[in-house]
């Protein structure tokens, strides 16, 4: 039963209990999913595009409410309707968006300072020190005065990471942190996720479809498939060694298998107006 919650730890930071979700009644994105994410660990959710990974992240952040089931963060039910409770929870979360979502009218420094200015009453010298420390942690202290238009995609992702950890959150969620990055930037990003998790003692949740990077930094991996199903989960090595055809196809990047290469279509002979087996 792939949907059964794993016994990772009795001290789970996030508990997803029989959650079903769809944006409308005609299409189910997540189907009766149960998961637990242990505190202090890096958990990756892998799956092909459109399988509901980002939707799961949004449910944890309370952007959407589940149609059925409950999502709990640190023991409290995430209720998308209760804005006050939601904002209190979100102050304990940091999110790295797919393309950084940096504020383009602010400098690198001001982007990282933004949550500190908005959420705390810290003095200006204190904010300056924290911002430079966070930028130093991602290797970009020297880029503090730059404008966002002056930084590369990889740097933008690291600045967004510095902003996500500005308030030392308990949970850091990464939405496709490796998408569109070159190999060096990808290695830097993967290394940062692991290091920050270990140094700050936070819990990390990585949504991605980059198998090698996620396998190298994760303590636990969840594999999702189209229709919001959980195909498998476990330690990275368990998944890499799995004999399940669906898992093998995904982790090895095989073009055809249980997930078909061709989108469902009429028989090819019908589309080209020839009878199957007829001589040319």
């Amino acid at each position: 039963m792939p949907s059964d919650p794993p016994n990772l730890s009795s001290d789970a930071l996030i508990e997803i209990d029989h959650v079903t979700f769809g944006y409308d009644t005609s299409r189910t994105i997540l189907s009766d999913i149960s998961l637990r994410f242990a505190r202090g660990k890096v958990t990756s959710i892998l799956g092909s595009s459109g399988c509901g990974k980002t939707t799961l992240l949004r449910l944890i952040g309370g952007v959407h409410a589940a149609n059925a089931g409950t999502v709990r963060f640190a023991g409290e039910v995430v209720n998308a309707q209760d804005k006050e409770l939601l904002f209190r929870m979100r102050r304990r979360m940091g999110v790295l968006f797919q393309f950084g979502a940096l504020f383009t009218d602010l400098s690198v420094f001001e982007n990282v300072a933004f949550p500190l200015r908005e959420q705390t009453d810290l003095s200006e010298p204190m904010i300056r020190d924290i911002v430079l420390m966070k930028l130093n942690a991602v290797g970009l202290r020297g880029a503090a005065p730059l404008r966002i238009s002056e930084v590369s995609g990889g740097m933008a992702r690291r600045i967004a990471l510095a902003r996500a950890i500005a308030l030392d959150p308990e949970l850091i969620m990464y939405d496709e942190p490796f998408a569109g990055l070159d190999l060096i930037s990808m290695g830097v990003a993967a290394n940062l996720i692991r290091t920050l998790n270990d140094v700050t003692g936070s819990t990390s949740l990585v949504i991605s479809h980059d198998v090698p990077e996620c396998m190298s930094i994760s303590d636990h991996v969840v594999l999702m498939a189209t229709g919001g199903r959980i195909v498998a989960q476990g330690a990275p090595k368990e998944l890499m060694d799995s004999s399940d055809p669906e898992v093998r196809q995904f982790v090895r990047g095989e073009p055809d298998g249980p997930v078909k290469f061709h989108y469902p279509a009429a028989p090819i002979a019908q589309d080209f107006g020839v009878e199957a087996g007829a001589a040319p």
Partner: protein, 260 residues
Amino acid sequence: MTNPLTLLGQRALRVLRSFGHAAFFFVDILRAVPEAMRRFGLVVAQIHAIGNLSLIIILASGMAVGFVLALQMYYALVTYGAAESLGLVVNLSLVRELGPVVTGLLFAGRAGTSLTAEIGLMKAGEQLAAMEMMAIDPKARVLAPRFVAGIVSMPILAILFSAIGILGAYVVAVLLIGVDAGNFWSIMQSRVDVWRDVGNGIVKSAVFGVICTFVALYQGHETEATPEGVAYATTRTVVMSSLSILAVDFILTALMFSTP
């Protein structure tokens, strides 16, 4: 085949739903205004972006309208020997109608499109979603300051439009055509009522400020997060703001100036 009556009903429901959605959005922004006022620096920055940066087009247009208005009115009035009324006609036309309406239309084109594109691109770049996830309400941090700035800027711009228009009319009528300067100014002093004419003009422009800014923010916030979506949203801002201004202007004029 779907019944035409069903289609009509579906469309009507969709329109009603969108009105309801816009009404809730408006109430949400109003509720966020006190928070925006507490951080007045954000409002001031937006008054600069929306108001100051619109000054050139407003002043240039005001001057041009004043020139043309003086010329046309002079040709019309001189036929009936009423050229001495030129100052009054120009003033009333500007402060009652042309000032608020033309400024509103220009404001929708200059500041409204800029607001829609800015908010739409912030949405497309997930900046608004990022704020939400940082437990910061984008309506209070981004939308409400722009809304207040729009309402504050519009009447000031309309006053400046009318003032520069009157000066433009003075240049054409008095300096170029030779209408008597004393007559040009004194008839304004004696016949233009500060509250009824100027005051109502300012009220009109404030109402147009609410309409333009709200439409621009709503279109930006509800835009589809694609380049085409942002393009359509900016177009809708100009069209909807302009039509709303013209419709509301008629209603306000009927209410304000129905008695002689």
